[in-house]
């Protein structure tokens, strides 16, 4: 693809890697967190951290809006899916997240009509094509995905589709970052800011990070060269004593984001007073629910939602992994009780979570040679 090939050039990668080595101070450890699951994916897919010196470490953040959904909410979804006549639609990612007693995939195996969609418009189409069935869309994602849900709900309202509703579990990016930064045992030097959330919210919402917490932020694109360059830019800020938000992905991300997207979010959603994040606890004003004007499309009002809170298992140390305090293999249940097939916490549930990514892609340490 024209837009991506030049950002995957290996020779340029080696040049950048050389500049990173020249920039860092020997003996000093640097821990940089990439927040966005997409960045984690790129790092593992291309082996970007193989090109970094040993004293620069990338820590994987809570970048999976699907996997931070607490078990109780998944159970709620399963309950709705089992209501007779319901067609329950969701993204593929959502189907494997475990609730208190199984996943949506298990519910499907037990007879619930759970269908994978690629966009909420697919779900609305299913509603139009099946007027005698109630169609529910399980909405998940950060501000990148919320506009898609919002536009679909606007269309549903305008058309007057009576058998469509939305179970919203959208979350926002800033509150969990603030919660992370508030932790006293946080050990991070800088951040790689989310690339596509910023196309919606812009770069300004991240200014609190340098301003209030003194950590540099670089908003990054998703190709391996983007990430290397962004790491380089964070390191330069640290070495030069600067502390600000820089936009490495300016070719896509406008400083002010997308006003039309923000307006439609404002119209269709409102912030919940608080929302529970798997592995991170309750965070205020971090979740979106449908606004008053869209109440008739809200699945939480249309159906009996059990709303039971299921506590995170005690053994789970995801919070510490997310803050960079411990590495995945230092978690007491990593690889034994907690595996990709039977995950306990969000870091293993998400394929972009630190633990799953390490287990699936990175567990062959770069010091070990293949002979």
């Amino acid at each position: 693809m024209r837009y991506v090939d030049e950002y995957r050039d290996a020779a340029l990668g080696r040049v950048l890697a050389g500049e990173i080595v020249a920039t860092v101070e020997a003996g000093r450890e640097y821990k940089i967190m990439e927040v966005c699951g997409g960045h984690t994916h790129t790092i593992y897919k291309y082996g970007v951290d193989d090109l970094l010196p040993a004293n620069v470490e990338l820590v994987h953040g809570p970048g999976c809006p699907v996997c931070v959904i607490p078990m109780g909410r998944v159970d709620d979804a399963i309950a709705v899916a089992h209501v007779p006549g319901v067609i329950f639609t969701c993204f593929g990612d959502m189907m494997r997240v475990p609730g208190g007693s199984g996943t949506l995939l298990d519910a499907k195996a037990r007879g619930a009509d759970v269908r994978m969609v690629y966009s909420p418009l697919d779900a609305l189409r299913i509603a139009r094509e099946n007027p005698d069935r109630e169609v529910v869309f399980f909405a998940v994602g950060f501000e990148t995905t919320a506009p898609s849900t919002a536009l679909t709900l606007k269309r549903a309202k305008a058309e007057g589709t009576p058998n469509f509703s939305c179970f919203s579990n959208h979350v926002t990016i800033v509150p969990p970052l603030r919660a992370l930064l508030e932790s006293p045992d946080l050990r991070l030097d800088g951040f790689i800011g989310p690339g596509h959330v910023s196309t919606v919210v812009g770069a300004r919402p991240f200014e609190f990070i340098p301003a209030d917490y003194g950590k540099p932020v670089v908003i990054s694109g998703f190709e391996p060269l983007d990430l290397l360059q962004s790491v380089y830019m964070v390191l330069r800020q640290l070495v030069e004593g600067r502390c600000e938000v820089e936009n490495q992905y300016a070719r896509v991300v406008p400083a002010d984001g997308n006003p039309a997207a923000l307006a439609v979010l404002e119209e269709v959603f409102e912030l919940r007073p608080h929302f529970e994040w798997r592995g991170l606890g309750f965070i205020s004003h971090s979740g979106l629910k449908l606004s008053e004007a869209y109440a008739e499309l809200d699945a939480e009002l249309r159906f009996e939602i059990p709303g039971v809170r299921v506590a995170d298992p005690k053994a789970c140390q995801c919070g510490e992994v997310l803050k960079g305090v411990i590495k995945p293999w230092e978690c007491k249940v990593f690889g034994t009780a907690c595996t990709p097939e039977r995950p306990i916490g969000t870091c293993m549930v998400s394929s972009e979570g630190a633990c799953a990514a390490y287990y699936n892609y990175g567990r062959f340490a770069r010091e070990r040679e293949v002979v």
Partner: protein, 67 residues
């Protein structure tokens, strides 16, 4: 099982695909393509678009224009 297992999580990974506009349809939808794969995309948030424009698409919505 991990949320996406062997595929990567389109939502978690905040996937954005550059696509080219083939045909603008009524009601804010445009037929777009990337590497020969075509799909319908909501373009309300980047309007107005024209045939040949490049946009960044996530979950069926164009979020930004590309140069």
């Amino acid at each position: 099982m991990s949320c996406a297992g062997d595929t990567h999580c389109i939502t978690c990974s905040d996937e954005g695909v550059p696509m080219r506009v083939l045909e603008v349809q009524p009601d804010g939808i445009a037929r777009c393509e990337a590497d020969g794969t075509e799909s319908d995309v909501m373009v309300d948030l980047v309007a107005p678009v024209a045939r040949g424009d490049n946009v960044l698409v996530h979950a069926g919505v164009a979020l930004a224009r590309l140069a």
